[in-house]
Symmetry: C2
């Protein structure tokens, strides 16, 4: 059996440059990165800390003799609060962490969002390295430098742009990932496919199984290209929010527990295509193709009507909102078979309500 | 009576440029700045909200029709907590604030530190305008983009670099400032004098009274020059920490209540000169001159021995610390009468202990 190669993707955000390693040898740079700093603190959560992937990364760091603290967050979104940020910062302080120390995040999207925000704000900013262990963290959360915690009623409402020093992604970690966690990342994988027709075919071929290292790397490269063009989300980066406006509403409507992020994004993707069809921007074939991609990945395309209405009501807290209302990321047909995705699209309340009704069934 | 002119100082931090208005007409740009944004939230505290200066600024903002929220923080350091940050962010969210909205801080150093950090992190960053109403905020806290809140045992331990869109300082606000609040800023004024001999004479002439608009503007210009050279505190900006390593220890030792920031910095300045003398870097005349400047401004040069020892023990949480210990900002004699200030100076434990003993008497 030949081991697939480890790919190194160059990443750039403004003046900050870093490297993204994807493959079975991705963790190899970890000891060297730790060695460049006086102390290292690991941020992870209980669920992740028990996995072979996390134990392997922790063991590498212990051997450097620099490991000064392990901050164990509550699992999932419960770890993304300002109270947990304070607890983590107090622990870093007690461990003697300075501006010359390093934070290493080991975990899924929630861990990397919270760990990155802790690194962004402790002593006004330390460097950090992301070791994503879930599909969602690999293809989305750990890339691009968006870090945040939640407010009681709004996800990611308090945060910072703080790109990491390196991202080290070993897709081997996905082998032991529970099915629900895997589906949480598949929503973003399908999103990249709907943004880029060349990827869509490869995603359909992979079906509802575990995407291989090459598909993971292709999704990561797709995100890095968009982020490089627009590091602080003033323009083109908004494309990455395809499916996320309604998706965030779905997550909030379910108390951030009923739907995984990927399931919510999947529903948001279907919503975006249905809304675009209502606005006459795309035809029924594009809608069918998007729904087939979502369903093919084992993700939902419908939700109970009451949940759909509640999700729509909670969309108002979207960060991309302006004073005159929501702005949408929506597809537009360019010829018989293809579409392009545009941002900043307006939609009237009747079209939105009709799309909500279509999803809730 | 001729009204003194309003000075406009150009400020630059990295690629970010902004203007600092100092004088009786400083608030005039406020309505225009509010008009450039969809909504405005004011962050202030109860003590400040009652003052004529704050009422004047609030009235100007109300007339624009853009004022969507007033976040009232607890007075002083009690407002600089992550719990208050969360309360403020929830209020901004409820008021419909977006990334196109504006935060206006009206108050002293604690308010501008906390308001700036709220602006830095809400939706990952909104623009903000600082309206400093105390001497400390004018000559220090509102300038330079350092924002932060405290951890239970460490001041400013969680924060961000987020320079404001404008700083609007009307020294008329100082006319109604209580004496203790005024002294809180005088420590920084004396610090600028000890960094720049040309300023020292003007400060001595002003004595322990209220510094005029021109002296305030000179101190602000001194800070802006250093910040421009080093926006994220990697080198020369460390000079502004003269007196602050021991000073922060003094504040912590007194539970952030016994000494004002200015009193603590004053003690830290005396400490720095005494430590430098112990290390043979300066002679007794420089120490005497520094102490005379501190005492001439009505600030303390000694503290109880137990407080001095406790302050020394609490210095270890200093943000400029490296793994090998504290690095000091200390003067060095350049000829018979003058000194220069350098950063990154090492000092052995015996010299530090001796200087601690000298202050505690």
């Amino acid at each position: 059996m030949t081991r697939p190669p480890t790919v190194v993707l160059p990443a750039r955000q403004g003046e900050h440059r870093y490297q993204v390693h994807v493959g079975p040898g991705a963790l190899e740079p970890l000891a060297g990165l730790a060695g460049d700093h006086d102390r290292v603190a690991v941020v992870t959560c209980a669920r992740v800390a028990r996995t072979p992937a996390a134990r392997k990364a922790l063991a590498r760091l212990r051997r450097t003799g620099r490991l000064a603290a392990v901050v164990l967050l509550p699992d999932g979104e419960k770890g993304k609060t300002l109270a947990q940020l304070e607890r983590g910062a107090v622990k870093l302080l007690a461990a003697g962490m300075t501006r010359r120390s390093l934070v290493v995040s080991i975990g899924g999207g929630a861990v990397s969002d919270a760990a990155g925000f802790l690194a962004a704000t402790f002593m006004r900013g330390l460097p950090w390295v992301a070791v994503p262990t879930t599909l969602l963290a690999m293809v989305d959360a750990a890339l691009g430098g968006k870090t945040a915690v939640n407010l009681p009623r709004a996800k990611n409402a308090v945060g910072a742009f703080h790109p990491p020093l390196a991202v080290l992604a070993d897709p081997g970690a996905l082998d032991t990932l529970p099915g629900r966690e895997l589906r949480s990342g598949l929503g973003e994988v399908v999103k990249y496919g709907l943004l880029d027709p060349a990827l869509l075919g490869r995603i359909s071929d992979a079906g509802a199984g575990r995407p291989g290292a090459e598909l993971v790397a292709a999704c990561m490269a797709a995100k890095l290209r968009v982020v490089e063009a627009d590091p602080t989300e003033r323009g083109a980066r908004a494309l990455l929010n395809l499916g996320h406006t309604f998706g965030h509403g779905v997550e909030a409507a379910g108390g951030f527990a009923r739907y995984t992020h990927g399931e919510a994004v999947a529903l948001g993707l279907v919503f975006a295509f249905r809304l675009a069809a209502r606005l006459g921007r795309i035809g029924p074939l594009a809608v069918a193709e998007a729904e087939a991609a979502v369903a093919g990945a084992g993700l939902p395309t419908r939700l109970p009507p009451a949940q759909a209405r509640r999700a729509a009501a909670l969309m108002v807290h979207d960060k991309k909102r302006t004073s005159s209302g929501l702005r949408w990321v929506l597809p537009r047909q360019v010829d018989g078979a293809r579409w392009t995705v545009e941002w900043g699209v307006e939609a009237g309340p009747l079209a939105v309500a009709a799309a909500v009704a279509e999803l809730g069934s």
